[in-house]
Symmetry: C2
Subunit: 109 residues, 2 copies
């Protein structure tokens, strides 16, 4: 026990949960907002700007990369990260469908 029983849920449910989990940390939201702000890619400026240790930032970046939410390219001695447009679109679509399924009705509990 103590392990999410992914086998009893649909691919889509697991996929959306995984994507949301990757987003569900203030540091990772801050990292993404930082990337979104300067549309051009960014690297270890994050370490200076967020107040977290370099190892911690690197770990969060790795998680975002694993989820394919961002992608990084080596640029000389530093690494440039940017949004993965495919996954971003996927999140928009999946979340749009999920959130949009709610039709507010009068008779509720």
């Amino acid at each position: 026990m103590g392990l999410t029983r992914t086998e009893i849920f649909s691919i889509e449910q697991n996929q959306l949960a995984t994507l949301l989990k990757a987003l569900a940390h203030p540091a990772r939201i801050a990292i993404l907002q930082r990337i979104l702000a300067s549309n051009t890619c960014i690297c270890g400026d994050l370490v200076d700007e967020l107040g977290l240790a370099q190892a911690t930032i690197s770990q969060h970046l790795k998680e975002l990369k694993n989820a394919e939410i961002i992608q990084g390219t080596i640029e000389g001695v530093s690494v440039c990260y940017c949004i993965n447009p495919v996954t971003w679109k996927l999140i928009e679509n999946q979340m749009g469908a999920f959130l949009g399924a709610y039709k507010q009705e009068a008779n509720c509990c």
Copy 2:
């Protein structure tokens, strides 16, 4: 260590992260989809329909309630859950702003 350093992030970043964390589990997504499907409220049908123990479902419901994503009303011997429209709208707005901030540019890494 081992504890999220919420103090270095903005209220909004922490709030969005908390909401997404509450959504970021396939069981909770399944529960919400079940509630969304029959717009009217639901109770322990969830225990029968999802393949998880009653205690586990109850715990997931509690988390969704804590995040104010759902609300429950006692209805006789059972409990009826439904979406909290205020929080749902909040998620839509916050996620919309967050995801919408991405403008796909040609020159990226």
